[in-house]
């Protein structure tokens, strides 16, 4: 039977009709292939090629081939190590808080609240704000002289008068992370809320009948069934957070004392401000490699680690 089917398939493949359909199919996807190839594939390959040259101008010319020198230069650079640490810190802290807060808010919005539709709608606002607006907004909130944060602390007698929230490197990095958490927790809420709505309520009912407490149900039903949603959102947020650029550019421009410089901001500066295009291309590829490693780590963790057993 199988042999017969295989023969039919072989005959069809060798027929002119198959070839004609194949050509037609290829012709139909060719425009898309060309567009995707030109605007995505070509720059990716071109950047990879550039990373092996010492290019210091945006204009075409003859530039020396330096092999892996740009990659080695990055690993030797203390600045690169510093910005990588900042990026990793930014990524893990922001993703952790966004996920934790996102799950809590999603649980709240999934419960029978009054005006639930309204609450669900306003959660979208931070995420809908362009990052440039969000950055400018928080920059003003943190301003030592006019900032709302200092004013609030003052009103509640918690001090803060004249405190410069973006004035010291580590504090500034944490303050930028808070601004990022405020904006991107919304995205986590949507994903988790969507995941929560796919969990049948009779599972909770059955667990309750079997004597399970709400906390036990949360850990034994909700979280395991949310793993696919958590996995997607964590990977998305991790990749996004590791590449963070715009909020840094708006709020601190990498300062003070380079304390908020992240790997993407550093790459941008090296590439466009210093015109080290070869080095910048190598840095861009290192970002891709780091991002893939982090994403792979998360996937492994979620599939085989603490949440093992959930397919």
């Amino acid at each position: 039977m199988i042999e017969e089917k295989r023969n039919v398939l072989e005959r069809f493949k060798s027929s002119g009709r198959f070839r004609g359909e194949g050509i037609l199919a290829f012709a139909l996807i060719l425009p898309s292939l060309l567009v995707v190839g030109w605007i995505i594939l070509y720059p990716i390959l071109r950047t990879f090629w550039m990373s092996f040259f010492d290019i210091e101008s945006p204009l075409p010319g003859s530039y020396p081939f330096v092999g892996l020198h740009n990659y080695f230069a990055a690993f030797k650079s203390s600045d690169f190590r510093m910005v990588t640490e900042h990026s990793l810190y930014f990524t893990f802290v922001s993703t952790f808080f966004e996920l934790t807060l996102g799950i809590l808010i999603a649980l709240l919005l999934n419960s029978p609240l009054k005006f639930r539709g309204f609450w669900r709608s306003i959660v979208v606002i931070p995420w809908a704000l362009p990052t440039i607006v969000n950055g400018a907004l928080w920059k003003w909130i943190y301003n030592g002289n006019y900032g709302v944060l200092n004013e609030l602390l003052h009103v509640f007698h918690l001090g803060g008068q004249g405190h410069n929230w973006l004035g010291s490197p580590f504090e500034a990095l944490n303050m930028v992370i808070i601004a990022d958490i405020w904006k991107n927790t919304s995205l986590v809420v949507f994903f988790i809320l969507a995941g929560l709505q796919t969990i049948p309520s009779d599972l909770y009912e059955a667990a309750r009948v079997d004597g399970s407490t709400p906390v036990k149900s949360f850990w034994n039903i909700t979280i395991p069934l949310l793993v696919p949603s958590i996995m997607v959102v964590v990977i998305l947020r991790t990749i996004d957070a590791f590449k963070v650029f715009d909020i840094i550019y708006i709020m601190t421009k990498g300062g003070p004392a380079s304390g908020t410089q992240t790997i993407s901001f550093y790459t941008y500066q090296q590439t466009f401000s210093n015109e080290y295009f070869g080095y910048g291309s190598a840095l861009a590829y290192l970002i891709v490699i780091f991002t893939l490693v982090i994403a792979w780590f998360y996937i492994k963790l979620l599939r085989q680690g603490t949440l093992e057993g959930v397919s």
Partner: protein, 437 residues
């Protein structure tokens, strides 16, 4: 030629007289020398060009729109598309658009001719540069677009940082305004103002980690008799006056005289806003601050402020930072004649004199022109002194890369992470590595 003959051969009509009058009028509107004189030539220049400007200090977008409208009257066949970006984005915009040839004319900072000129991103206009311009422009302006004795643009914005102060605060704190002639006097005045409780921090600066911070540092380095690079081109800012300047900056923070927001996020426009709000008493800033801080519609200190030449350091030196800018022709322009016409027109004395309130002209004789003097007598009086003595940041091809490493180290010293000497030593090592790379 044929047309000219036919006109002279004919009886002079009323229409011809009106036409000649119009042409003569238009010719007088055109830039002075080295420029294609005559309406017929202007009419021959055609096409569409794009120009990139900054929306910050210097000429406002309204000024540029006015100048462009004037240009259109003389060059009716040229259409100009203008675009404005923040200063921080200007360099990178020029770089990223270079290959696509997006702009025909770009505004470049005084620190970029070496970089853009050596990489042929902007056109060497030495052969178009009339010899008379070198004498007719102020020395500091001419230096704006020069690299290796070649011209890469026409100077347009001639600027340096002046010292602005609130006269009301000085009077209330019983500070003799003459004492503001030196940095030592400024610090004593700041202490008196703080002691009188007029403001919490009498000074604010543009010391966010950026080029604006380096401009202030350079101006103080000059006042303290320091040198940025030595005669052999090696960093020398980690010796003598360079270190004293940074120690002075740090001390003003430690003593509580400088608003700490200065090292966090403050750039020039933040200093202007704080000064205009009466929140600080003194500050360094570019020319444009005078008009805005003295405008009652947007300032609480209008009529209660004065401007001075930058204060002198211990040795009596007081160079102003050269913060000038030039209009350059992009190497990818498809219409060099229209680009040149536009650059020449905007930099012409007549156009610059007309908007002197926001940025002073590059032309020497403008400073005795009653129109310019009347526009901004307070600033012109100080400009006459300060523009003759300016400190130029080094014209090196890797200026940006060098500046970024110095900014990071100066920032560390300002927030107390490193001592000024240690920070500048580290900056000198890194800067030397960039220059030798």
């Amino acid at each position: 030629m044929k047309n000219e003959e036919s006109i002279t051969d004919r009886q002079v009509s009323r229409r011809a007289i009106l036409g000649a009058g119009a042409a003569a009028g238009l010719v007088t509107m055109m830039p002075t020398e080295g420029f294609a004189a005559g309406f017929s030539k202007a009419a021959n220049v055609k096409g569409t060009i794009s120009a990139l400007f900054m929306k910050q200090a210097g000429y406002s977008d309204t000024d540029v729109a006015k100048m462009t409208a004037d240009f259109k009257k003389v060059y009716p066949n040229v259409t100009v598309k203008t675009e404005f970006v923040a200063y921080e984005a200007l360099h990178d915009k020029i770089v990223t658009s270079a290959l696509a040839h997006t702009y025909d004319v770009v505004l470049i900072d005084v620190i970029w001719p070496a970089e853009f000129g050596s990489k042929k991103m902007v056109v060497d206009i030495t052969n178009r540069w009339p010899a008379s311009w070198t004498n007719d422009m102020l020395g500091g302006a001419v230096a704006t677009a020069v690299y290796n004795k070649h011209y890469y643009g026409i100077p347009w914005i001639l600027d340096t940082k002046y010292f602005f102060y609130n006269t009301e605060h000085m009077a209330k704190a019983k500070v003799d305004e003459a004492s503001l002639d030196t940095w030592d006097g400024v610090m004593k005045a700041a202490s008196a103002i703080k002691k009188a409780g007029l403001v919490k921090y009498p000074l604010a600066w543009s010391w966010t980690q950026s080029e604006s911070m380096l401009c202030d540092y350079m101006q103080l380095l000059g006042a303290f008799g320091g040198q940025f690079l030595d005669a052999s081109g090696k960093p020398a800012f980690n010796k003598g006056g360079g270190v004293q300047a940074l120690e002075f900056m740090r001390k003003s923070i430690v003593d509580g005289l400088t608003d700490p927001v200065s090292t966090a996020t403050a750039a020039e426009d933040d200093v202007r806003k704080m000064f205009s709000a009466g929140q600080i008493s003194m500050g360094l800033n570019w020319t444009y601050m005078w008009a805005m801080a003295n405008d009652p519609k947007q300032s609480k200190v209008a009529g209660k402020m004065k401007v001075l030449q930058t204060p002198a350091g211990p040795g009596g030196k007081r160079p102003g930072i050269n913060g000038s800018m030039a209009l350059s022709m992009s190497s990818g322009t498809k219409n060099p004649e229209a680009a040149w016409a536009y650059m020449s027109f905007l930099t012409s004395q007549k156009e610059q004199n007309a908007v002197a309130m926001d940025s002073l002209p590059v032309w020497k004789s403008s400073y005795t022109d009653p129109v310019v003097v009347k526009t901004s007598p307070a600033v012109v009086a100080q400009a006459k002194k300060e523009l003759n003595d300016m400190i130029l940041r080094p014209q090196v091809t890797k200026y940006n890369a060098m500046s970024l490493v110095i900014q990071a180290e100066v920032s560390k010293a300002l927030i107390g992470q490193k001592t000024p000497q240690k920070a500048l030593d580290d900056a000198a090592t890194k800067a030397a590595a960039v220059l030798n790379a």
